[in-house]
Each structure stands twice: as C-alpha cells, then as structure tokens.
Symmetry: C2
C-alpha cells in the first residue's frame, strides 16, 4: 500500500508538471492574442478540481465543424472534388450517367447548379451517385485511394496535409485536458472517417456527419453493409444540434465552427448550458496564407449572421491573419 | 528525466500487477466454466502486445444488447412498463387519448396487441405517445422520476438494481483491458441514457438504441430539442449492424446478446472480421433466480435461430443457471 501511495503521489506530481508545461506550450502556432488567452483561461477554469466551474471529465465534450474549421473548404469543399473525380471514373464505366442533368452540370464545372438550394440538393445528388451502391469497405477504399493521389490545386499538397496546424494543436490540447473531441460536419461521415483518425486523432465513432442508412447483406465471405440513400440526413445548420443529441446524447461544453451553418450548434452548446461553455469561430481573413472569403455570400462557408451574433453570445472570433502564427505545418 | 523513467517503470509494474490480478479475479460472479474461460482466453489473446492476434486499443469495440443481456426483460421489457405508467399519467391530463385503440389495449393490459407485428408497431405507437412532444431534458426527468419510484413486480427492487452482476463485472473487465463498451439495443436511446452511465458505466454517447429525430427550437432560456417521431429508427435485428456502422463506423470485435434480434450484429461482429472476434449469447435458463423463457416463441427475447447457429459460428452460450454464481448483486 505504501508503494502504491508513493506511485500515486509521484504520478500526480508528474501530471501536474505536464499540465503546467501544456499551459505554456500547448498552442505554439497561436499568437498570444485574445483567442489563445480565452482558450487557456476557459480550459483552466473547467478543469480546476474544486472550482465551482469544474466540469467532470465525461461531460467535457468538444465539437468541431470540419470544412473551414479544421481544414480549408476553398476552392470547393474537398469532398466535392472527390465526388467529381469519382464521377469521371464512373461515367467511363456507365456512360448512361451522362443523361443525368446534374452529372452534366458537374462534369462541365457548373458548380452553381450543384450548390443551389438551401441544402445544396444538386451536390447531394452527386454525392449520392458516387457515395451509394457499394459496400462501406469499398467506399472507404476509394476514398483512401483518392486521398493518396489527389492534390490541392493551389497548395499542391495531398488534402490530408492541409489540416490547420493551430487546430491540430487545439484538438490535442483539449484531449490532454480530458475533453472528448468530436467532428460535427455537413460532410459525409463515411468520407471523413477514412482520414479523421490519422489526421486529427479523432476516432470514427467521434465523427458525426451527413449520413444515410446502409443495407445489411449476407454474403459468402461474411455480412457487408451496402451504402444507400435511405433516410439521408444533412448534418448542417439546425441539423447539427439534432445530430449531436442523436449521437452524443449530451450538450457539448465547447463548440468550434466557421460559418453560419455552425450557428445552431454554437447556440446549443453555449446558451443555457448549466456548465460554463465556450464558443469559437474561425474567421477566414488571410488571403496570403489561406483565403479571405467568408463574409461575401453566397458561398460555401458564409459567415454573416454567426459573426454578427458573436459579441453578444460571447463567442471568440479567430482572425486567421492576426491570431495564427502559421496556418499549415511547414 | 531519470525521475520520469523511474515513475514510468513503477507505473508499468503496478499496471502489470493489476492486470495479473484482474485475470484471476475479474469475473468473480462467473463459474469457472466454458464461458468465463473463453472470455479470459479471448481477451488475453487480443491484448497481448506483439501477438499476431493483437488488436490496437481504438479497435477494441464491444457491443452489448441491453434487455435480456444486461438486465431482465420479463415480464415485459422495462421500458414498456415505464410507457404504460406514463400513459396513465397522460390519460388523466388528456382524456381524449382514451379514444386511441392502442391506448385502450395498453390500459387494459392487452400486451399481445401491442407486441404484434415484426417490429412491435403497437408498442412503438405507445412509445411515441409517451416519448414525444416534450424536450429531451423533460423526457429525461420523467424517466429519472420513474426509475426512482417504480419497482419490479417479482424482485421488488428498483429496476436499476436489476443489472446482471456477472455482466457488470464483464463490462468493467473489458474496459480495464482497453475495450470501449457500447449498448446496441432495441430500447430507446433517450431512455437508456438516463441510467446507463450510473448503472453500467456506459456514457450516453456509447448508448445506441431506437431513436427518432428531435426538433431544434429557440426559446428564451436557450435552445431546446423537442422529441418527435420523425425518422423513427428501430434498432433491432438487421437494424443493429446498420446502426453500429452509423454510430461507431467500425466493426466491433466482441458482441454480446441474448436473442434472435441480436443475431445480425453477432454475425456482423464475428464473420469475416479481419481481427479475432468474440460472440456470446446469454441463454435464460434459470427459473429459480431469474427466468427460463427464451426458447419458447412467440415472446420478447426469443432465442431460437441464434442459438441454433451458435455452435457453427463459434458463439459462446452462457447457461445462466450453470455459468453464473449469482445473477443480481445481493
């Protein structure tokens, strides 16, 4: 028993030391400006045992949008590029697909038609053509192949090397402080799950995204799940808090987004939460290192109403140009 | 650095000691018969670093049915009792509900009408009446009140004191060995999440159950989610592997059930899994300490086809009378 006590004491000392070291160095790619200070102050507050603001570890749920929050969404959300590349492969195999007006729009680069409508119905139709009819394993293999070969047109890097370095540090820091980090994105869950673990350190079960049902089929080598379009669920806007309840079942205490599509989950996380809560918006202001695009609707990732609401709601706004030392890892 | 190394070494030693102690005592309520031996052998195999059977921690997903696997489902699934009790309260408040034939059936104790149909449509209709139209917080409060007052008719205990002691030990043991334990049940997710954390040690985000969408509403005190019947999803039979993919996104390596409703997820977990996988069925054979009911269809919790498939599939069958020293904690 004496040995156990000594080990516990030493371990406690070690953890305390780690914790203090983290507080100083956890976010090296962040400038020492308001957002970094606010993050550190908030985390210190809710992790301080005995404090009235203390939040028990199981309730430290942090949710992150993906496109525009953890990696770019310009010139178009990357999953759309995947879908277009996949469509080209499929049209070669099934030429009858060319009769589809949305396929024609996609192949001719008419993205406006695809993005029209409140839920980008054309885009979803395209995703359906390229994201259904195969098993979940087959789909994951296609995504993996694409991620290994495709490159971003401006940065000339594989897409998985475009995660925002400051956000990677933030994810890691929050996990070290007992937070469970989730993605809650309009992107497809099955698409994001292929790379979220290796890129963000977020396991598949913590990736919430747009989704539809699969169909269970018994095959000679064992059961498979075939992707379908049934009960297509668009995890955007008011759909985000709804999905958070469906998948997580408790209110997050921290929420990170970049567009009006994240406003409902920011509200759900921070308004009327019995725990102290934290909301943050990544504002794309950096045309030199990334893009400056988000306040000019209509565009994917429009940030107008959420930005206007931020001061009253107490949401921290990250000005990428001012608040981040670097955007991508070198 | 020397201190850190020493602490790591001591901690390692301590963990090794704990691990050896666990292997001997982790399942004290289990007889030393085939099921316990099979569980310990399987866990030893997949957690042995360097072994070809080793499974990395993030992939150690274990899924458990709830009714009949973690707690009883006789005389009727407990959530049905909750719904009937709730219905009585609601009929007093809204007498027009008495016009509903299913309400009449429920109040007259005609459970056969409620349970008819492949997905127990009548039951689901009753659940809908008692499980929709209020906020998620209001619903959770009603469940909490019921759990604190209602008692099981035979055992005369609150329902939350009827978790199977051997299964509680198994859940705890698996978690100590790096497994993430999930519930995958036909029961309602919002119902189970109220008690799963305190009773089973399973956090809300690891409770998968029947579910339907909520509606996001902005109210003066902050946003709420109102329970609806939209996109009602019955998490049973082939719906279980489909939900496992939707919520977890990877194939479990261990699956625990008790009825034919669990057969599809047992197949999905164990057939064609690239990792060594484990399937187990709790067979209700103990009329003295619990119930012996499951091989006599039609009944909730029928175990016929899955039991017949078990030997060929390599699924371990727990004979409750033979294999468990005790069923409930004293």
């Amino acid at each position: 028993m004496k040995e156990i006590k000594m080990i516990r004491w030493l371990t406690g000392l070690l953890l305390l030391g780690q914790s203090l070291a983290w507080a100083a160095d956890a976010l090296p790619s962040w400038q020492d400006t308001t957002p970094k200070q606010a993050i550190l102050a908030y985390v210190a507050k809710v992790t301080q045992a005995g404090s009235p603001d203390f939040v028990p570890v199981p309730e430290r749920i942090a949710v992150f949008d993906n496109d525009g929050t953890l990696w770019p969404e310009v010139p178009v959300p990357f999953q759309l590029t995947f879908a277009l590349d996949e469509l080209k492969v499929q049209v070669q195999q099934k030429p009858e697909l060319k009769q589809d007006p949305m396929v024609q729009a996609a192949l001719s680069g008419d993205l406006a038609s695809l993005m029209a409508g409140p839920h980008h119905e054309g885009l979803l139709h395209l995703l359906a053509l390229t994201h259904a009819g195969m098993t979940t394993d087959e789909f994951a293999a296609r995504v993996r192949t694409w991620l290994a070969t495709a490159k971003h047109p401006r940065f000339n890097r594989p897409y998985v090397q475009l995660a925002y370095q400051p956000m990677l540090e933030l994810l890691q820091y929050l996990r070290e402080q007992g937070f469970k980090t989730y993605i809650v994105s309009g992107g497809g869950a099955d698409f994001m799950r292929v790379f979220a673990e290796s890129v963000y350190g977020i396991v598949p079960e913590q990736v919430i995204g747009s989704n539809s049902l699969t169909r269970f089929e018994r095959r000679p080598a064992g059961p498979v799940l075939v992707k379908t379009l049934e009960q297509l669920y668009v995890d955007d806007k008011e759909g985000k808090p709804v999905a958070i309840h469906q998948f997580i079942g408790r209110r997050p205490i921290a929420c990170f987004g970049n567009s009006d599509g994240d406003q409902a989950m920011l509200e759900y996380s921070t308004q009327g939460n019995p725990h102290p809560a934290f909301g943050l918006i990544v504002h794309h202001t950096d045309a030199a290192r990334e893009y400056a695009y988000d306040t000019k609707p209509p565009a994917s990732g429009t940030l107008v109403t959420a930005l206007a609401a931020a001061p009253k709601q107490g949401w921290v706004v990250v000005d990428m140009q001012r608040d981040w030392k670097q955007v991508f890892a070198p």
